[in-house]
Symmetry: C2
């Protein structure tokens, strides 16, 4: 064994040195690639061409996969690697390009611009050459002046204040001004805006939290209020900042958000509360767990690292939401019998019904989450 | 604009050609790297040196980060890339190395070796040079012959059959044989094995499903039964196959699994059932959703792509589990009041208590899941 160790130590070094040299060459090539991409961005800027080119990306990936096979490399690994490289290069390109404004010099008033979401949008408008004004609770006396010649008013205040703020600001607005809000419910705010303001109205719901650093591929729902033609430029601007836009009606938006936000966060809250009530040894359970449990528990832990007030707003926003959550609890209560009588057959029966209803989504979910679990194993 | 387009088309091509050349060179280097790694594996095999060398990996990563900074590359991106490369190379090395058996030619009997988990372990033992025998329900008459000179009996049958199978097989076993099971509960099976068999006993619980393709970094819990020294070789063998081993008592194991498996899967089942009861438009909700919702809904969908019977077993395994799940439902019912009276203050109050109890885990969870969300955005 000792002889083996010595032989190993002697022979491994030149191999490791060669691997280090190869890695260093890879880094040099990545640096050169970065230089070329910068030139492409500069050219796109001069020629006014959009940044992201999905077809070119997919084409590149499929050619790289073919070449990888020729070189006896695993095409999946190569695809993984180049997705990382391309995404990074896209984010860089985007942040360079997104200075561009659709209506530079237009006057934008952000109400609640001191909050996190308001501040984020104020900064985006500013960077794109708009004239940005901020109105906070403490300077309402300046409202008439700030509103006089304004082109866009963006309301970014807590849900429960949106109605009152809209009522208060509307009398000061020119009829041509576009009135828009960022609230996470849409039916009532849109109705309030249409009632109080005679000009164009648009509802905007950005589906991301304040931890987001770029709009790249982030989803924003837009719901029409009045005069869609007059708000088209704003929708286009959001797209240019990299957001993916989803069109909906206020009604549909609110119904879907009951599930996507209220139900989901409430279920997570309940799970966290039960762990707390039982004083479960979180860290020890993690030692015992598959990556998927780590991921699921992470979803619970993640909630409680965020703002309680924000989640209270989301969960309790409307009467319909609270009704839905009560129905959720009622639904759980029906399982008590099954547990009491140890009725696994009932469980299997329900399971199959649900599985059939989920349909192909289940398999897709299994594939996607398995991919993520592999990333998680790789990283942690 | 048209002039711009023409100028762009002319000038972009050479830049894109150069990027393609760089990508091709990167592939060539990766292929050369793969060749070197193969040589390292061959050397390790000859010299009997373990495959995975965590210190060398971390050392490599930190040197690459430094060099990346020198070359004005983002060190996080470079770390991401090389984690993918290293993991891939580790899996390759491992699959080459794991032919090695700690006790080659030892006789292993897998009871239930036709099931997925049994078949997986049978294949691993086979590949490592063990003499593997399979016993299924249909050939119990061969049990005496198969057991005569056996070194290890591995019971891999459904939970509810484990007790009976242990009772049935034990009289045929030589006293020196190691008796082990793969059941996902441990208290009762270990007790049954110790009662029926006079020789060494070990409990094994592999914390991964049948979709797993390699033991690399997968967690396996081992719980002592009798004569740990006599089962040491088996624990070592599991480690050599790449598994991460966690030691526990049968009692602690079962308590933790109540949470990690029963509670978690039951909560997921309840969520899926409610979506089904309301016939929620899954696909449309996905269009409206942040990547994190996609991930959470994926966790639900994933469950229903799997085997109903397996989850019934896990959820209903013991009386203690069913008791815990009833308490979970009771815990949810206490929230009805808060919803009824729209008491956001109560919600915020509970939220803070729970957040404080979760402590640093929450921030860690936020960091980890944000990392995964970025991967998800990148990929889908």
């Amino acid at each position: 064994m000792e002889k083996n160790q010595k032989k190993f130590a002697e022979q491994i070094q030149p191999l490791r040195d060669e691997i280090d040299r190869i890695d260093s060459d890879i880094l040099s090539l990545l640096a050169r690639r970065q230089e070329q991409v910068k030139k492409v961005v500069a050219l796109k800027k001069t020629c006014d061409v959009p940044v992201f080119h999905p077809a070119r990306e997919e084409d590149l990936i499929s050619r790289l996969r073919t070449r990888a096979e020729e070189k006896k490399l695993d095409p999946d690994v190569i695809e993984d690697l180049f997705r990382v490289i391309l995404r990074h290069s896209r984010v860089n390109q985007a942040s360079d390009m997104r200075g561009k404004g659709i209506r530079p010099n237009a006057r934008v008033l952000v109400i609640g611009g001191a909050g996190q979401m308001g501040a984020m949008f104020a900064a985006l408008f500013e960077k794109s050459g708009y004239q940005v004004r901020i109105l906070t609770e403490s300077d309402w006396e300046n409202a008439p002046g700030l509103c006089a010649d304004v082109d866009l008013v963006l309301v970014s205040v807590p849900i429960e204040k949106t109605g009152a703020v809209v009522e208060k600001i509307s009398p000061h607005l020119p009829e041509t001004a576009l009135l828009a809000d960022l609230t996470s419910v849409k039916k009532e705010p849109i109705a309030a805006m249409c009632r109080c303001h005679k000009g164009p109205v648009l509802g905007i719901h950005p589906l991301f939290g304040p931890t987001t650093t770029s709009l790249d591929k982030q989803i924003i729902v837009v719901t029409p209020g009045r005069d869609p033609a007059a708000s088209h430029w704003l929708v286009e601007q959001l797209g240019l900042w990299g957001a993916v836009l989803v069109q909906s009606t206020p009604q549909e938006h609110d119904e879907i958000m009951e599930i996507v936000q209220a139900l989901r966060h409430f279920a997570t809250f309940c799970f966290g509360r039960f762990l707390y009530e039982r004083r479960v040894q979180i860290q020890r359970t993690l030692e015992f767990s598959s990556p998927i449990y780590r991921l699921e528990l992470g979803m619970v832990g993640r909630l409680f690292a965020q703002d309680a007030g924000l989640y209270a707003q989301i969960i309790f926003a409307t009467k319909e939401r609270r009704q839905l959550l009560k129905q959720f609890i009622t639904s759980l209560n029906q399982h008590l019998d099954m547990l009491e009588t140890n009725d696994t057959q009932a469980f299997i029966h329900h399971f199959h019904d649900i599985a059939q209803w989920f349909g192909p989504f289940s398999d897709q979910a299994l594939r996607e989450s398995t991919f993520l679990i592999e990333r998680l194993i790789e990283r942690f």
